[in-house]
């Protein structure tokens, strides 16, 4: 039976923030993939504002969704004023691929 090795003493139950939850790629939860139609995008950035994953990069004219994290909730598509975000059914095998 495996036994516990002697661990150093005095270790508090403190977890350091140096391993962020960012390592946890949630993109594979996604079944719907939002796609932004750049030609119709007005750059209003409501998709950035309302993203519960905080995974929309708003630094360029047309926002870029980080598909490593996007869970496909569809809020961006629902809230987009010009309705330029479409949800497409995700192919399972590339769900976690970065865009």
């Amino acid at each position: 039976m495996p036994r516990l090795a002697e661990d150093p003493m005095f270790t508090p139950a403190t977890l350091r923030a140096d391993r962020p939850q960012r390592e946890n790629l949630t993109g594979d939860w996604r079944s719907l993939r939002p796609g932004i139609d750049a030609s119709r995008c007005t750059g209003c950035l409501l998709c950035w504002k309302f993203c519960p994953e905080a995974c929309v990069d708003a630094s360029s004219r047309v926002p870029v969704i980080d598909f490593a994290y996007c869970k496909g909730c569809g809020i961006c598509a629902a809230e987009c004023p010009p309705k330029c975000i479409e949800l497409a059914r995700e192919a399972e095998e590339d769900a976690c691929a970065k865009s």
């Binding site: 516990l4 661990d7 003493m9 270790t11 139950a13 977890l15």
Partner: protein, 383 residues
């Protein structure tokens, strides 16, 4: 400086002298006077820390969880139902490895309502990961509270300093109260390197997976076991500074004893009287006071144990369905000895019932017969 103090006042003085940063407390008989004395000491400038007058014992310990996590030295006092109400927090703060110090004034748990002393409140918290010190005098309450901060901070484990309700808490005794500088030399400020700090974001107490959880618990147990040594080290530092010495257990006339009384708390003073009285009648009586109950000083009691010399455990608390708590613990400690003596349990002093010299003498006389039946005896209140 010599003062005449109740046990409660001695506890409050110790907290003030220890330069506690945050007190959070809620009144309960018979510990209320600790809260009141701290308020007086704050008003008179002797206690310079903060005082949160919370709305419950659960919140008292929750507030100390917060304050100690932020790196503050913390203190509270409670009793009986109040201690029971803190129960989940007691587990939490030991798991979080916070060196909180609390005074518990022993009082029976209801129902029915009872205001008086027994050890059922503190002993029902024996599995919460707190060190437990049972005091037998008001001087010891003050001294142990001071030592408890140092022990707790070294081990990162919380301490419960326990005294008998009324017998100690409300009885005036002369107490040597050391000066603030002397105490500061013995007990330097606590510096917690991993205290909560916005400059160092971290999560404290987050969900741990089974492997990590087991390791953390293993460390807690290791440090609990190490505490026996640490308590003795700090006791000798204390003795060097203040001239008073305390052990894990306190044997009394045990050398040639034919049976040993075993108890904790103020009843141990009565036990010494009973031993003297029995000795005066030509009986080879001896007694052992248990001072530190968590961690249980297994090796210390084994060292005193001799084949054929029975132990008579006077239990002021019992676990319904399995009997006297200290009796069980002593049996467990002695059982691995190849020729272990018999351990006989006597339930006495529940809910403030008197533990008298006569009662203890009677118990000793029964135990020395070393009868081989294992039933625990229930003793009537002597009054």
């Amino acid at each position: 400086m010599r003062k005449v103090l109740t046990g409660n006042q001695a506890a409050a003085w110790a907290a003030a002298l220890a330069s506690v940063d945050v007190v959070a407390a809620y009144p309960i008989t018979p510990a209320t006077q600790v809260c009141e004395t701290l308020a007086e000491l704050q008003a008179s400038g002797h206690y310079k820390g903060r005082y949160v007058k919370v709305e419950s014992e659960h919140s008292a310990m929750s507030a100390l969880l917060g304050a100690a996590s932020a790196g503050a030295r913390t203190f509270t006092a409670t009793s009986s139902q109040g201690l029971a109400y803190m129960h989940e927090m007691l587990h939490w703060v030991s798991g979080a490895r916070l060196p909180i110090v609390m005074v518990d004034v022993n009082r029976a748990l209801a129902a029915p309502w009872n205001l008086w002393s027994d050890q059922s409140d503190s002993l029902s918290q024996r599995d919460t990961g707190w060190l437990q010190f049972y005091c037998a005098s008001n001087q010891e309450v003050l001294d142990t509270t001071l030592m408890a901060f140092k022990i707790s901070e070294r081990l990162r484990l919380p301490s419960m300093v326990i005294m008998d309700g009324f017998t100690l808490s409300h009885t005036y005794e002369p107490v040597d109260v050391p000066g603030a500088e002397e105490v500061a030399r013995f007990l330097p400020p606590w510096r917690e390197p991993s205290a909560l700090d916005p400059k160092r974001p971290a999560a404290y107490g987050a969900l741990a997976l089974p492997k990590e959880f087991t390791r953390l618990r293993r460390r807690l147990e290791n440090d609990m076991q190490r505490a026996l040594e640490t308590i003795l080290e700090i006791s000798s530092e204390f003795e060097e500074a203040f001239g008073r010495s305390y052990g894990l257990i306190e044997p009394y006339r045990v050398g040639d004893a034919e049976a040993l009384l075993f108890c904790a708390g103020a009843a141990a003073s009565t036990m010494q009287e009973a031993v003297d009285a029995l000795r005066a009648r030509g009986k080879a009586a001896g007694g052992v006071r248990l001072r530190v109950a968590r961690p249980f000083p297994t090796y210390s009691v084994r060292a005193l144990s001799r084949p054929g010399v029975p132990w008579a455990v006077v239990d002021r608390a019992f676990s319904p369905g399995s009997g006297g708590v200290f009796r069980q613990e002593l049996e467990a400690a002695l059982y691995p000895l190849s020729r272990h003596p018999s351990v006989r349990g006597y339930i006495a002093g529940l809910g403030g019932a008197d533990v008298t010299v006569e009662l203890l003498s009677e118990i000793w006389e029964d135990a020395v017969l070393d009868r081989k039946d294992s039933t625990e005896a229930w003793m009537e209140d002597a009054r």
